[in-house]
């Protein structure tokens, strides 16, 4: 099986703070990998390194067989990296539908007319169709989260990065999002998902990575990882 993404010995510091510390792992095509770890462990930073929003201080990042360590973010999107932000960042002055049109047209390098149908289908999947013509700035938290997912999907990703997409949602709302993500996974999209809502995460992913102080302290089968002593210490008091 080929790897969609490989990180080898990637490090990143902010001033004296080492936020990513010699991180190495690979994600095979079609896999769903979960990432857990306490707040401030460097999970979102890891995503920013993969998308190109941050450049690493050391190490190498390979995407679909190509070294992208220094490749600009927008080029990586066209190669097939879609991401959602932990704090939703909609284009507030555009409608929900226009948010998707922008992502689809630019993420896939196509004309607007060519991507309209796909955007409508994504709106249906993410239960946003009724709000298609609403300005994104007026959406509720749930709908902003849905829009994050929908916009990432619209870029036509081969690798989808989801950053705490289920946080702050009710159980029912969470279930709906999980169903959408599971559907994407079934279509063969490779997924990396950072999530604190563990039962949502473990119901989808087949592999789990634990990050603490910027280091990978465990990666493998979710059940085994959750059972390990180190992880339980970190997650003491958290929902397991």
């Amino acid at each position: 099986m080929t790897d969609v993404l490989t990180l080898s010995h990637v490090s990143k510091s902010f001033g004296a703070l080492k936020v990513t510390d010699d991180v190495s792992f690979a994600v095979p095509k079609g896999q769903a990998l979960g990432i857990i770890g306490p707040n401030g462990a460097g999970k979102s930073t890891l995503f920013n390194l993969v998308t190109g929003n941050f450049l690493p201080d050391a190490g190498q990042i390979t995407l679909l067989g190509r070294d992208v360590t220094r490749t600009p973010a927008m080029e990586r999107v066209r190669m097939g990296v879609g991401r959602s932000f932990q704090i939703p960042q909609p284009f507030e002055g555009l409608t929900v539908f226009e948010n998707l049109l922008t992502a689809a047209a630019y993420g896939q390098g196509k004309r607007e007319a060519e991507v309209q149908d796909a955007c409508v289908a994504i709106l249906k999947d993410t239960e946003l169709l009724a709000k298609a013509n609403q300005l994104a700035g007026t959406l509720s938290l749930l709908d902003r989260k849905r829009l994050e997912l929908a916009r990432a999907m619209a870029t036509g990703p081969e690798l989808l990065l989801l950053d705490e997409i289920a946080g702050g949602l009710t159980e029912g709302e969470c279930q709906a999002l999980v169903a959408t993500i599971r559907g994407l996974h079934a279509q063969g999209v490779t997924i990396i998902w950072i999530e604190h809502v563990l039962h949502a995460l473990t119901s989808v992913v087949e592999r789990l990575l634990v990050l603490d102080f910027g280091r990978v302290i465990g990666i493998g089968d979710p059940d085994q990882i959750m059972a390990s002593k180190e992880v339980r210490e970190i997650y003491l008091g958290m929902e397991v």
Binding site: M74, F91, F97, T102, Y106, E112, L129, N133
Partner: protein, 349 residues
């Protein structure tokens, strides 16, 4: 089934009304007095400048206070074409566009490195430097300026035809020609901006303005979009500057690079009318023209009042007069929003 459209009933009516207005504008010189033609020249050129500023600041989020650089360099390039190369003033207007385009390249290169208020200050500094450099150009009058030579203004292409057509003196016929060119530039500018906003690039522009970081994360090349818009607006601003000085026929660095005339007034027009909407500057220029006609004699008190009015608008109606109208009525004459309309399968025969 679904359909995507930007058109509304109001926009169809607005489109027809716009065409009718343009037609009236074209034949107006046949019966309008010279003073009206001159007023309209002023309105149309200020409108075009305001639309261009609105494009880069309102739609592109790049608040420039250095637009006078492009007006000035455009005007001087036209003068250079006439005086140094013996060109007819009208084709020499194109040199104004070219010169502004060339100046915009280093300006963007420098100013794009600056964010927010520093961007604004950066553009202003470059405009000042350009003015100082141009003031050293002795053959074009140095610091005191110069006039277009009588030979050049007396036989501008088309003027004689217009004079014969409407039975006018040469000076009045020149005004008509300048007015037609201003009308052409205003219509072309607004049509081009409207087309841009409705194109894929329009989406990118809005995305970059709303959230630069997120725009990049969906594959938008934020830098490229900003470059395109900045260079295009600068070029058009240069053309307008050259045209204004074909009509004035007299130039000086202080006038051609005036921050008050070509940037402060222009920002006033956009702010009063409504930033980030094509309708805004249209409304704004009419308000400005009214104030200018009534109160310009009051000098610095007038300027002070304009400033207070602009600040009050920003505080209490940040989207300007057109914003107020839009909020009350939902009216949009030039809509750019792509609306998704679902067509129910069952309701079809």
């Amino acid at each position: 089934m679904h359909q995507v459209t930007t058109r509304t009933r109001a926009s169809t009516i607005a489109g027809i009304a716009a065409l009718a207005l343009i037609a009236v504008g074209l034949i107006l010189p046949a019966f309008a007095p010279r003073s009206l033609i001159q007023d309209l020249f002023f309105i149309l050129t200020m409108l075009t400048l305001a639309q261009l500023w609105n494009l880069i600041a309102g739609f592109g989020g790049m608040v420039s206070v250095g637009q006078q650089a492009f007006v000035g360099i455009g005007a001087y390039a036209m003068f250079a074409g006439v005086i140094l190369m013996g060109w007819d003033p009208v084709p020499a207007i194109l040199l104004g566009g070219l010169a502004a385009f060339l100046l915009a390249i280093p300006m963007a290169f420098f100013a794009f490195r600056l964010a927010g208020a520093y961007f604004a200050i950066g553009t202003w500094v470059i405009a000042e430097v350009t003015r100082l450099v141009i003031a050293q150009w002795k053959t074009l009058g140095g610091g005191t300026g110069t006039s277009l030579p009588r030979e050049a203004t007396s036989d501008i292409i088309g003027v004689e035809t217009i004079a014969n057509l409407f039975g006018l003196r040469d000076a009045a016929a020149r005004d008509v020609l300048a007015y037609w060119l201003a009308l052409g530039l205003a219509v072309a500018t607004m049509a081009a901006i409207y087309a841009l906003l409705r194109s894929r690039t329009g989406l990118a522009l809005a995305a970059v303005r709303d959230n630069d970081n997120a725009a990049r994360s969906v594959g938008v090349d934020a830098r490229r979009v900003k470059w395109i818009v900045f260079l295009a607006a600068a070029t058009m601003t240069g053309l307008v500057g050259a045209l204004i000085y074909v009509q004035t026929a007299r130039i000086s660095p202080d006038a051609a690079f005036s921050v008050t005339n070509w940037t402060a007034y222009v920002i006033f027009i956009a702010v009063i009318g409504g930033i980030g909407r094509l309708e805004g500057p249209i409304l704004g220029v009419l308000v400005f023209w009214g104030l200018q006609t009534a109160f310009a004699d009051y000098g610095s008190w007038y300027l002070l009042a304009l400033g207070v009015l602009a600040i009050a608008t920003m505080l209490f109606a940040p989207r300007g007069l057109w914003g107020l109208i839009h909020d009350r009525t939902g009216l949009s004459l030039f809509p750019v929003q792509r609306r998704l309309i679902l067509i129910d399968e069952r309701s079809k025969p």
